[in-house]
């Protein structure tokens, strides 16, 4: 089987390219570094026996972060390279092209975003470029699919270049200068509204007010979409389901199976939050409490990503993130983590040093609540008023800042400065946004729902055999003495390791005061990541750093819980 590798600079549209070639669905965004791992697929369009790999974006063949290392490894095993270049930025893209050509691998060059080059007044003479480089060059527009027919026809012509020989840095740039002079013409264009907006949103004086406005609008959208979905879609659906579940409950009669599947009836009725059965709470929590917010969040996130706003936000937050031992790019994992910590931790691969990646991953796991956690906070404290909800988020924000400051001092290593390309603003395409949201929701359903189900199952079994109670007894002194919570809350906090969102149902029947609930929910979000996050941290950080992060988490939970107890409950 022939290995075809897609190589190119960050943010040139390789992932869209990949999904065009393979028919596969991959996440794409308008900022550099969306692909941190590679995806594999089979070339469709009548070319059998070609495996195609989408490599992370890289500027050169001397890697400066993990994602770029992955790209280099992939190149070394390639039989053929499709080099995707941004036609609006030929000069810079050619650097990588020359480096690949010097390795004598068969290459075909795709000048992507051909339409945009036209818009900004760039014209490139393709025949001339082919002659200069000695390889086939095609013009493509990955978003619309233009040029792909030609690409497929000419893929067989790809061969090692005869005209490009190995050279050093200096010679390479001189060569690029000559090539660009020969093939490219630029007609000057005037500043547009887009340029003006771009600059206003990245300058400090105008950028910060814009950022605050954008954030508020985003959160408002998420809550409006989420609440509407619950009120008008999911709750009515569950109202239809209740009679079915009730008749199942009657048919089962009391006993082990009833406890497992339906759970405890509250006042003779199913309470979807508190019953804890596999077919009651086990499906209500993921579908009616978490899923609506997941849909809402990922829709808004997709709009954000495709517009190109995130790198501007990274620039604005750079100064403050340096205090936490990272640079501004750290905001992107934080943002993704608000949906799911697993994707957030994967995105830390774009940070250059081990120190940065460790701090980012640890901070995410401790203090950035994912949608499931958010739904939990709203579910528990929402009925008591927005003030209590705000108290949790304010605490988490403080924990983020405090942990960042501490970890920056504690962890040895470098924190290099930011170096981030700012993509032009693009209007998000509704079709792409929809597709991306659906993909992420499908991912959530596939990855998270089985875990959630398994969580309910394991907990119900452990409960029945008395293990949870025993463990609860062991930890009770800490929970009661240090955090000021009832002994029964211990179980809920332990269950939180498997699924935080389930702990909701276990905390509610304990008749705690709102302030106690604030402490319990804050602790639930801080002290331990869910199983999924735990395993991804293990993979990304290794066992040693994982243990370090866990120890820090435990210390933070004790500190924060104790402090909150003193402040909110008194002695």
């Amino acid at each position: 089987m022939k290995k075809v590798v897609l190589m190119g600079n960050p943010n040139v549209g390789k992932s869209v390219f990949f999904s065009r070639l393979t028919g596969a669905n991959v996440i794409t965004s308008n900022y550099p570094g969306t692909t941190v791992d590679f995806s594999k697929g089979r070339l469709c369009r009548g070319k059998d026996g070609h495996e195609i790999i989408d490599a992370p974006g890289t500027y050169s063949l001397e890697p400066s972060n993990r994602a770029e290392e992955v790209a280099l490894e992939l190149l070394e095993g390639a039989d053929l390279v499709i080099n995707v270049a941004d036609a609006t930025n030929l000069e810079r893209n050619l650097y990588l092209t020359l480096q690949i050509l010097e390795r004598k691998i068969p290459v075909i060059l795709a000048l992507n975003m051909w339409d945009e080059a036209g818009h900004v007044g760039i014209s490139i003479n393709r025949e001339r470029l082919e002659a200069e480089l000695g390889i086939p060059v095609v013009a493509t527009i990955a978003l619309s699919g233009e040029g792909f027919h030609e690409l497929m026809q000419r893929i067989g012509d790809a061969h090692p270049s005869e005209t490009i020989r190995p050279m050093n840095e200096e010679e390479r740039w001189i060569r690029i200068g000559e090539i660009v002079k020969n093939v490219q013409q630029i007609t000057h264009r005037h500043h547009t509204l887009r340029d003006w907006l771009s600059e206003a949103s990245i300058r400090p004086l105008t950028g910060f007010p814009i950022a605050i406005g954008v954030m508020l609008a985003a959160f408002w959208c998420v809550s409006i979409i989420g609440e509407s979905l619950i009120d008008y879609v999911f709750d009515p659906l569950f109202a239809l389901y209740t009679p079915v579940a009730m008749s199942l409950s009657a048919w089962l009669g009391p006993g082990f199976l009833h406890d497992l599947l339906i759970g405890t009836l509250i006042d003779g009725q199913i309470d979807y939050v508190q019953s804890m059965g596999l077919f009651t709470t086990g499906i209500y929590v993921p579908f009616a409490m978490v899923l609506p917010y997941i849909v809402a969040f990922y829709t808004v996130l997709a709009v954000f990503e495709d517009s190109g706003y995130l790198p501007r936000l990274a620039t604005l937050t750079d100064t403050i993130f340096h205090r936490f031992g990272m640079h501004g790019f750290g905001i992107i994992p934080v943002f993704l983590s608000l949906g799911c910590n697993v994707t957030g931790i994967l995105a830390t691969r774009n940070l250059e040093t081990k120190k940065q990646r460790f701090i980012a991953a640890a901070l995410l796991a401790i203090s950035v609540p994912c949608m499931a956690k958010n739904a939990m906070v709203f579910g528990i404290l929402g009925p008591y008023g927005a003030g209590y909800v705000m108290l949790v988020f304010a605490t988490l924000f403080l924990v983020f800042v405090l942990s960042g400051l501490i970890l920056n001092r504690l962890i040895k290593g470098d924190s290099p400065e930011i170096c981030l390309e700012i993509p032009p603003y693009r209007r998000p395409d509704p079709g792409t946004v929809l597709k991306k949201t659906l993909m992420r929701i499908r991912w959530f359903l596939q990855e998270a729902i089985p875990f959630l189900f398994l969580g309910v199952l394991i907990i119900n079994v452990l409960y029945t055999v008395g293990f949870v109670e025993w463990l609860g007894g062991v930890f009770a002194p800490v929970i009661q003495g240090w955090f000021g919570l009832p002994a029964e809350a211990t179980t809920a906090l332990l269950v939180g390791f498997l699924r935080k969102d389930l702990a909701v149902g276990m905390l509610l029947p304990l008749a705690m005061s709102p302030m106690q609930l604030v402490i319990a929910t804050t602790l639930l979000t801080i002290y331990f990541p869910c199983v999924g996050t735990f395993s991804i941290m293990f993979r990304e950080l290794g066992a040693r750093d994982m243990i370090k992060a866990t120890a820090f988490m435990a210390a933070m939970a004790l500190l924060v819980g104790g402090t909150m107890r003193l402040l909110l409950l008194g002695l």
Binding site: Y59, S60, E62, S64, T88, N89, E91, R92, Y95, L96, V120, E169, W173, S198, E199, I202, R203, P204, G207, P311, A314, T315, L316, D318, T319, H327, G328, P416, E417, I418, C419, L420, E421, I422
Partner: protein, 77 residues
Amino acid sequence: MIQPVSHLETGQSAVICRLEGGFHFRKKMWAMGIHEKKIIRLVAKHPFHGPVVIEVDGREITLGRRMAGHIIVGDPE
């Protein structure tokens, strides 16, 4: 006047004269299209020694202040 790009006024353009700093840094800048004789414009400068945003070839790039200090520019001819 010869000065680091970070000393320009916001909105001001200049020509890159040379890149200082280590081999890796210069290589990275070259790979991003930032090198001698290019026209560079300072788009934004963030306070408290924060990053600067520069524009080269119609592309904006955010750079840390120290990195920007290594890009030495002069008046355009």
